[in-house]
Structure formats: structure tokens, C-alpha cells
Amino acid sequence: MSNDINVNPGLRESATFDRTTMAEIRRAADTGIYDIRGFGAKRKLPHFDDLLFLGASMSRYPLEGYREKCNTQVTLGTRFAKKPIVIETPVTIAGMSFGALSANAKEALGRGASMVGTSTTTGDGGMTPEERGQSSKLVYQYLPSRYGMNPDDLRKADAIEVVLGQGAKPGGGGMLLGQKITDRVAQMRTLPKGIDQRSACRHPDWTGPDDLAIKIQELREITDWQVPIYIKVGATRTYYDVKLAVKAGADVIVVDGMQGGTAATQDVFIEHVGIPTLAAIPQAVQALQEMGMHRKVQLIVSGGIRNGADVAKCMALGADAVAIGTAALVALGCNDPKYSEDYAKIGSAAGFYDDYQEGKDPAGISTQDPELAKRLDPVEGGRRLANYLRVLTLEAQTLARACGKNDLRNLEPEDLVALTVESAAMARVPLAGTSWIPGQQF
């Protein structure tokens, strides 16, 4: 339990009431308010690290690194849209709002994504000219709050993402605390400055999948059937949600697992609602396969993706692409130890900082404070993000080639084994060294 070597070994920390738990009880007693924070789930969950690839050997032969081609290009929105989106790497940037993030951060995300030919996504609060200008492929989120939602921006978008939920808070609405509501943010959202903005958890003008089908038709009509329409859900009853999303007419489905990041949500929500990303993917793929729609309706997976291995594992389980939020912010400088002193001043530390809601981000990313925001140079940030995206792509390609695949999407569950019984059951791949998939009959 204890990481502190100076603690007397005779003192034993409770596994149930550890120091974090006790600190939270004291915090609740002090304030009377639940803890609101950013970032994603911090508890340990079955995750991609619990899976391994079976490289090629005698029974499969590998492809030569650097020389033999391994395709990473993916086309999204082939079902109904006249103009599907072609991305050069299957790693996209997830929706993060202007308001939660500074204008510079949004611009940096757009620049980085455009450099490697992938898409970026708006968020709650609408589209800023900076991000439209810097994003060669921009997905416009259509959220319950409809803050800043306007048909001109809708028509400017390369795709529309109808957000039903987020992995960090399936069933919950959004929150942007007063500290971050500057004049510009307030004006974009038609709300008074400085108030806490609660975003609704349900869409105001439709309920249920039958209504959603009509809503999607409306969005298609307004955009003359040009652009793909995504549906984003937080991972919960993923099998059923994906079936209903296909039925409602989605071109692309985004499934965000419970590790997914957020700008501001109750801690109790982040840690206790939803299912891990690992568990959600096979459910989504099964639903698509049963409907004969796997690869026809593309699946984007997000929630805790950090490296090329995670990307390749998602693809092997059947995703067409992934989305990243937290990792992109880290690439821009979030939680960087170079700001250690500043983190200490606000009672946090590099590597632990999650108070995105407070708007005091020393790295200048999750803030609206002009002085802090200046710390992030959008050009430099964009370059860093592009580098990071290139590494993810190269890593995923390396693994795919080792498995003998000339396209990331040729990776398959058969290439994977699990390290734990839990991950084997969730990912539906055998426990390493066995042919046992818990829950499946032979």
C-alpha cells in the first residue's frame, strides 16, 4: 500500500480506507460538494496492457519492416455520405470543447491532426474559426446542450457527430464551471459570464432511437446528404446501443470506454459508471457483425489509448479507427514535469493534475486565462502532436507487420492472447498459452 519508505513497517495502511479514500472523506466533510475533476478513471481496470500479440513465426510469416507496405488509411462514412472522410492514420482526435480547452490548444490539435492527415473534433460550445481554419478534416459535435450550435457551422463540417454520451460519464451531462466562462466562451454559448454551465444529459428535441432516426435524417437533409454522421456513445450496454445506432442510420459509431477523459465530471461518475474500453469493443463488433454491418458502418474506439500497441489492439479486436483525448493533451504538455513548481503552487503535481475544471492549468491547455494560455504555442504544440501521432502509427504498423498484415485492419482477434482471465473474458481472446476463452463453449 505505502510507497513511502520512511513509514514504519509496523504501520499498516488499510486497503479499504487508504489515504486517498480518507482524503476524499475529509474533503467531502469540509465542503459538502462532490468532487468534480477532469481526466479519466484513475482506478486500475482490465485494459490493453492485458493483451499481447502473437507475432508470426512458422505458421504465419511476417512482413518486412519499412519495405513491405502496411496500409493505415481508413475511409469513414461510406454508408450514406456523399463525401466520406479519408484519414491517413486511424488515430483521430476526440471531441474536446473550446471552453474546456484554450483556443491555442484547439488550434494546436487542429494543426497536429492536419499534419498527419487525420481528423479533429469540436466539442460542447461550438466551432471556433481557429480550429476550422487549422483542421483539414473537422468533425462537428451535435450535443444535448447545443451550445453554439448553428447551421452554418454544421454545413462547414466534414462530418457530424451526434453525442449521446461519453465514456467518462454515460448518462450524465456536462459541466463548465464559472471560472472558465470568459466573455468569448459566454458569448459562444449565449449565457451570462462567470456562471456554472450545466449541459443537459439528454437531447432536447428527441428521445429514443426512433426519434434519433428522424433527427439523423434532419441533419442529412440540412447538409444535403454530403457528410458522414457519427453517433458517439459512452460504453455501457454497448451491444444494444450499437445495434440501435446502426438502425437509426449512423455512418460511423464512436464507442468511448469508461477510461475516457473528460473536462469536468463528478469523480464518483468517472470511477463508477460504464464499462472498460476493452470490454466494449467485442460487444460493438458482435453487434455490427450480426447486422452484416462490420466495416460498412465504421467503428471508432476511444478511452485510454496511449500508444501504438493500444491502437493495434483496438484494430485487431475489430475497430476501424481510434480517437484520443487525454494522450493528445499530454503530447501538448499537459502534466509535464517542466511545470512542477506551478503544479505544486496549486496543490497538485506533474503526473497527477486533473483539475481541468478550475482553469488554472500550468501548461496553458485546459484554461481560459490568457496569460496561462500563452504558454502553449499552437505551432510548436501542433508539431509535438504530429510527432506523437506518427509514433502511434509507426508502432501500430510495426506490430501489424510482425503479425504478417499489410493493412492495420487485417489485424484480427486471432492475433491476440490475454494475460488475465478477466481480460480474456472481456476481449474474447484466449488466455495466453491456452485455447480457453472464458464464457465460450468448445
Binding site: N150, W206, E218, E221
Partner: protein
């Protein structure tokens, strides 16, 4: 005047023809026949057109309207004029729930009654209802005006922000943080203008005004029960 008969043309053909007017306007007056409750009629318009729909419309009629003047000579389904930006939409009959939802501008007139959640999350639109409105109307309403010449259902203005609500009849109950407010001369003036624009002959002095108590604008632990 151009007539499109939905017994012969599809919604897609109708909307494309109307959208084409935003690029090059060749005809300002449009008439739609046989709507028969179909959804998404005349949505996404972006031109100073006048569109008369003869019959009942389904969901999201005139959704996201900009500049156009749309009249529904019948009833309208869910989400009529949702997210309207400008222009006017007039419903001669009744409107279903979420009329004018999230609309940012323009004028929505409903000559009959409106269902639940009329003006939900409204963001600057003016809505004038000659009849009554259903429950949870103006939920999280942000900006604009909501005028009701009849009665309002349960939980009017729940968690609302800066909308001005005027009701002539009774209000079944007020939602969290919504209170009755004083009718000052500037409100009489505002209401007179709204009624005039809607073409309704009502006495502004007979209305009561409701708005936000602004107690939920920033989280206070003492208000925990209201959240």
C-alpha cells in the same frame, strides 16, 4: 409561386430545391402540398423565402431555419423550428413537444397550443403561443422571450437562465429557480412589441412575468436540494 406536391416529390427533392435558393434565388414564393405529417419538411433553409405548407407537418419542420418565413397551415410535430436562427415560423394549428427547442433567433408563432418542453434550452428566439403550453417548458432556457396567452403546465422555466417568460393564464407550477417577477414598463413595452409581431390582439397588462431567481447560477451547497 412554385408548388411542390409531396404526393409526387420526395422530402429530399423539396429540401434540395429550397436549399438551392441559397446559392441562387430564382423563386421566393413556395407552396408545399400534401405534407401528410412527413418529417423534416423545409429544414435548413438559408434564404429569404416564403414557404406555405398546406397540411400537417411531422418532426423538425423548418428546423434550423435562417431568414425564411414558413407557415404551416395545420399542426406541427415534435421540434418545429428547432434551433432556428432567424426568420419566422408560424403554426396555424397545434405544435407537439419541444417547439422552438434551442432556437437562437427569429420568431415562432403557434396559433394553437404547444406540447411539453416548448422553448426548451431556447437561446434567443421569440416564441409566442396563442393557446397553452405543456410541462417543462423553457427548461434551461438561456435567452429570448416566451409569451403564452393561455396556461402553462408543470415546472415552467426549470433551471432557466435569462429568458423572459410572459403568461396570461395560470401556471400549474414553477420549476426550480423560476420565480414570478415584477412587470415594469420596459416589459410591457417588450411584450406589446412581441404580440404585435405575432399579430395577436391581447392586453399586455393582463400578463404576468416569470424569470430566473439566479440562485442556481453557481453551485452553492445550500441549494443542493434543488439540483
Amino acid at each position: 409561386m412554385k408548388t411542390i406536391d409531396l404526393a409526387e416529390s420526395s422530402i429530399r427533392e423539396l429540401n434540395q430545391a429550397l436549399h438551392d435558393q441559397a446559392v441562387e434565388c430564382t423563386e421566393r414564393e413556395w407552396e408545399v402540398l400534401n405534407p401528410k405529417g412527413q418529417h423534416n419538411i423545409a429544414c435548413g433553409l438559408d434564404q429569404n423565402l416564403s414557404v406555405d405548407i398546406h397540411g400537417h407537418a411531422g418532426y423538425f419542420c423548418a428546423g434550423m431555419n435562417k431568414k425564411a418565413h414558413v407557415v404551416i397551415h395545420g399542426n406541427a410535430g415534435q421540434g418545429v423550428a428547432e434551433n432556428m436562427m432567424s426568420g419566422t415560423v408560424r403554426v396555424k394549428g397545434d405544435a407537439s413537444q419541444a417547439a422552438g427547442a434551442t432556437a437562437h433567433g427569429g420568431l415562432l408563432v403557434i396559433e394553437g397550443n404547444a406540447g411539453a418542453r416548448c422553448g426548451i434550452s431556447m437561446k434567443g428566439v421569440d416564441i409566442v403561443v396563442k393557446g397553452s403550453i405543456g410541462h417543462m417548458s423553457c427548461f434551461m432556457g438561456q435567452s429570448g422571450n416566451l409569451v403564452v396567452c393561455g396556461d402553462a403546465g408543470d415546472a415552467l422555466g426549470d433551471s432557466m437562465y435569462e429568458v423572459h417568460i410572459y403568461v396570461k393564464g395560470t401556471v400549474k407550477s414553477l420549476g426550480a429557480d423560476c420565480i414570478e417577477k415584477e412587470m415594469r414598463p420596459e416589459h410591457i413595452e417588450e411584450l406589446t412589441e412581441l404580440l404585435n409581431r405575432a399579430g395577436l390582439d391581447e392586453d399586455p397588462a393582463s400578463f404576468k412575468r416569470y424569470g430566473s431567481a439566479r440562485q442556481l447560477y453557481n453551485f452553492k451547497v445550500d441549494n443542493a436540494g434543488a439540483y
